[in-house]
Amino acid sequence: MIEINNIAKAFNGKEVLKGISAQFQKGETNLIIGGSGTGKSVLLKCMIGLVKPDQGNVLYNGRDFYNCDKETQQSIRREMGVLFQGGALFDSKTVEENVRFPLDMLTTQSPEEKQERVAFCLQRVGLEAAAKRMPSEISGGMKKRVGIARAIVMNPAYLFCDEPNSGLDPLTSVKIDELIKEITEEYQITTIIITHDMNSVMEIGQNIMFLYQGDKLWEGVNSEITKTTVPELKEFLFSNKLLREMQE
């Protein structure tokens, strides 16, 4: 379980996060939604240690990420898998080398063990055939899947996905969502997804948090979200013509 308490962050005096608290349960896909510039990505970066919050703490199964010794922090990091928005694959490495990279750097496994694990992860995301290709030779959707394979190769306890559907067609988006949900349930991972994709909200959002101008305005499950009375959330949800028509 991940628990965030009173997370606040300001850049050049501008408050981006205003004391956010939440709990994210194991084995669930937790979605953080909101419009552009509402602080979703900053919150994610605060949680994974790329941006240090001005106040508050982040607890990983009770271990305070920002107030623990370096060894504990390192071990928490090794329990994290992160899927970045653009995949963040290393351009100079093949798909297979990208997935093997965390194993090469952080483990003492034999080459055979690493190869077996990489093959399993690539098979899990359906990319066995692309193992020898370079990131520049594969599509956006495939890059995301390679990113997922790299994120799960170390058997993470926590999976963070920053806009996994951005730039993808609806069909590929659905496949990526399903893959993340399957992996979350299969390996009992605490998954946190940053998104503004309404399809993801309805399909895989087991626990949803809505951010607006750095504040948490709503939290709940996807079956309740359409019944919300929060005007900002209603405006966000039904900004799409199709959804508006469905609501009417």
Partner: protein, 242 residues
């Protein structure tokens, strides 16, 4: 001043918690190829022509009956060893290697590849930058020795083929009044310049933020700052070591 302070803090992080030695060895070899071996062609072209032009122009200006013609070769040799090979070669390398390093790291930064390393708990500056700095410090002196040799050979070819100087005079000139210490001085310069080029360019690339435009700016700044630092260090080394 804050930029200089940030630069020194950045240098400190290179020697922070590192990864397995085998990882560094592999990275170092990759960088030696990328920085050193791939620069051989441009260094060879530039050095040969600079040596050739030095010989022709020195001979053109040295038209005194009391100065032996072998002095042309002596001047070419000392110019090459003391200044042209180490400084001009490193300025050329600042353009080629410096811009390459800054744009590579800048692109890695804006595409979140550096973030990905940091999230994994890897010391990204040490993993990415330290091998580049060491590779530059190792390969630049070799490239400069190669450059000096080709420069002197370029002078020889230009001088003898055009009839400006005879083969015998040239060979006599390059051995006349030779000071072995100058070779040591020639090797110290690229060692220092290699460090400056690789570290400054890495610094510029590593802290890039924004998009493609900023990567281009970082690359340009890396080259200009490297060139300025080379010229300052060149003067200081000359004052200190000669």
């Amino acid at each position: 001043m804050s930029v200089i302070g940030k630069y020194f803090i950045f240098l400190g992080t290179l020697f922070g918690k590192g990864e397995k030695l085998s990882v560094y060895w592999q990275r170092l070899m990759e960088e030696c190829v990328g920085i050193g071996v791939s620069s051989i062609f441009i260094v060879a072209i530039v050095s040969t022509f600079i040596g050739a032009v030095s010989c022709i122009q020195t001979a053109y200006n040295l038209v005194s009956p009391i100065i032996p013609i072998s002095t042309v070769a002596l001047i070419v040799r000392d110019m090459e060893i003391l200044e042209l090979a180490p400084t001009i070669t490193c300025i050329v390398l600042a353009g080629k290697v410096g811009s390459n390093i800054a744009s590579e790291l800048g692109t890695m930064r804006i595409t979140e590849q550096i973030d990905a390393l940091e999230v994994m708990g890897i010391n990204s500056s040490s993993y990415l930058v330290l091998p580049k700095v060491i590779a530059a410090m190792l390969t630049f002196p070799m490239l400069v020795i190669f450059s000096a040799f080709l420069g002197i050979m370029g002078g020889y070819l230009a001088g003898t083929l055009t009839g400006v100087i005879t083969e015998r005079d040239y060979l006599y000139g390059i051995r006349d009044s030779f000071v072995p210490y100058n070779i040591f001085f020639m090797c110290v310069k690229p060692f220092v310049f290699g460090f400056l080029i690789a570290s400054i360019s890495s610094f510029k690339g590593f802290f890039t933020s924004g998009g493609a435009l900023e990567v281009g700016k970082a690359s340009t700044q890396a080259v200009t700052n490297s060139c300025i630092s080379i010229l300052i260090a060149d003067y200081l080394l000359a004052q200190l070591l000669l």
